[in-house]
């Protein structure tokens, strides 16, 4: 059983993003980039399924600029067997990425595709669900537990107010939530090994996918600043202010 995992290169989650002065977007030049944290969880889960003998091959896919190769090497250092880069400088939106992934699913025929539930840059939370729709496959988003047996995936999902468990026919698309697993640390020997693993590159044209953006970004601005209030010296003053000034209690 093959598992395909999509990984996205994003601004590192520790970086405080800055809006460009011309309001065209956020500053990405000379900013540390990393794998989207949810995608790391996705790779980890796929590798664990392989280690458990459920999967036979884990393929990592990334769509974007040349440097996404680094993200794929990280995925392979975690344990993916090979990587595929769909290389383009275009502004890729979730629908376009879902179509690129669908084209690769047609080629590779994985039984399960695992993605992060959302990327921490555009916060869209769409690609997995869109891919499932295009594949006409089952889906389980926000997964906190995945079990695969007898041609079905049983997935526990984090939903509002609790957990929900679904049984999915394969092929299935699963998107990861935070508590699914804790990704392993990448070791130096594994980084070295990853450098030798196969990495194929396609262009969107090779896959016959039109990646033209459907959403036009008019501007990107700083959010309204919330100004810091006052420091209170003690609990008594705090209660007094909440009662008489803020009037919230």
């Amino acid at each position: 059983m093959k598992i395909l995992v999509a990984v996205k290169r994003v601004i590192d989650y520790n970086v405080k993003v800055r809006v460009k002065s011309d309001n065209s977007g956020v500053e990405t030049a000379n900013v540390k980039m990393s794998m989207n944290p949810f995608d790391e969880i996705a790779i980890e889960e796929a590798v664990r399924l392989k280690e458990a003998g459920v999967a036979t091959e884990v393929i990592a896919v990334s769509c974007g600029v040349t440097q996404c190769q680094e993200t794929l090497r990280t995925a392979m250092a975690i344990g993916a067997d090979r990587g595929i880069l769909v290389e383009t400088d275009a502004d890729l939106q979730p629908l376009a990425v879902a179509k690129l992934l669908k084209a690769l699913v047609d080629k590779e025929q994985p039984s399960i595709v695992i993605l992060g539930k959302q990327a921490i840059d555009d916060d869209s939370n769409q690609t997995g669900q869109m891919l499932a729709a295009l594949m006409n496959a089952s889906q389980a988003t926000f997964a906190s537990k995945v079990q695969v047996a007898d041609g079905k995936a049983t997935v526990t999902r984090e939903v509002d107010g609790g957990l929900e468990t679904l049984a999915l026919n394969l092929p299935a698309v699963i998107t990861t939530d935070l508590r699914l697993n804790e990704p392993r640390y990448v070791t130096l020997p594994n980084i070295m090994k990853a450098k030798k693993k196969q990495l194929d590159t396609f262009k969107p044209e090779d896959l016959g996918v039109d990646v033209a953006p459907r959403l036009k970004t008019i501007k990107v601005e700083e959010p309204p600043k919330r100004s810091a209030g006052v420091m209170v010296p003690d609990v008594k003053t705090l209660v007094e202010k909440l009662k008489n000034e803020a009037k919230v209690i």
């Binding site: 879902a98 089952s138 509002d160 049984a167 970004t217």
Partner: protein, 311 residues
């Protein structure tokens, strides 16, 4: 121009998030129809009828719609989609799960978690955990939108919309529901609470979270929240999490206890009306957004606060 709003419900009550999505739909212009797809959900339909601004409630009933499975609910929405210029849902677990599936099948983009309607095709939405606000224009014919509930007021009740029954789609049979574990609580729901008390890593353990945070929440009639650090450390379940990847909240009063205030957490609560922070570290970033900051050891300050509130 007509909008379809997917109602959030549990086959019994209509969830409050629906009301915020209706307000966003009204702002897009044109009539608003509300879809209640479920099983034996007549009380939810009754509540849906009364939402002000809704011209028509579309009721679809089938056993395979009971659990709001993404595959089936998306097919149901698609069966109705051709009548609508806008399809909206609140950005809840169900809305986020379902609508991208609808958008992909319609071959249109989705605009996620809008916080403002500028015009019928232009919206504001936060990106990078709310550290930037993007204004985007949807160029596709059908606009598929999830609505961040904190960005819109709740629609009033007191309306009397007509109810129309629509045929259910056949079961897609792709997935099946196997069970649910609902966190039982007599406290208000996090997403809609007027007050929230949130605890962070500073509490040190699950036991201390319960011992310190819960009495204060009870005193204030507040919902319980937590930072991701507290969730990761296993103090509380994931559905307590406030932040970029958890719940986005905007209560009247938000009390952050032992939370340092990582940007991902601030993203989830900075639109609260009044923010109180209690932390022993005077440099904690949470103080930069707090209306009232108290530098103190939470283990003495919170019990003291309880005593003061009881006076």
């Amino acid at each position: 121009m007509t909008s379809l709003v997917i109602a959030e419900h549990d086959n019994q009550s209509l969830k409050a998030a629906t009301l915020n999505a209706v307000t966003a739909a009204v702002a897009c212009g044109g009539d608003v129809h509300l879809l209640v797809a479920g099983h034996q959900a007549s009380s939810a339909v009754e509540a849906a009828k009364q939402v002000a601004g809704v011209a028509k409630v579309i009721h679809v009933d089938a056993p395979h719609l009971e659990n709001q499975l993404g595959e089936n609910l998306a097919e149901q929405v698609l069966a109705l989609a051709s009548n609508y210029s806008h399809i909206l849902a609140p950005a809840t677990a169900v809305g986020k799960n379902t609508l991208p599936r609808v958008a992909a099948k319609l071959d249109v983009a989705q605009v996620s978690e809008i916080t403002k309607v500028i015009s019928a095709d232009t919206f504001e939405r936060p990106i990078y955990a709310g550290n930037a606000i993007a204004t985007v224009q949807a160029t596709d014919a059908t606009k598929v939108i999830t609505v961040r509930t904190t960005g819109f007021d709740a629609a009033a009740t007191g309306g009397s919309a007509a109810v129309e029954t629509a045929p259910a789609i056949p079961d897609t049979g792709k997935s099946s529901f196997a069970g649910r574990e609902v966190s039982k609580s007599d406290r208000p729901e996090l997403a809609t609470a007027k007050a929230i008390v949130s605890g962070g890593r500073g509490l040190g353990s699950s036991e201390q979270y319960h011992a310190i945070i819960e009495p204060l929440a009870d005193k204030l009639g507040a919902a319980l929240g937590a930072s991701r650090a507290a969730v990761d450390a296993g103090y509380v379940p994931n559905d307590y999490q406030v932040g970029q990847t958890g719940k986005i909240v905007a209560p009247q009063l938000y009390v952050a206890v032992g939370i340092s205030g990582a940007i991902q957490h601030l993203a989830g609560m900075k639109d609260s009306k009044v923010i109180v922070a209690i932390n022993k570290d005077p440099e904690a970033p949470i103080f930069s957004v707090a209306d009232y900051g108290l530098v103190a050891d939470l283990f003495t300050a919170v019990p003291e606060l309880l005593t003061e509130l009881s006076k």
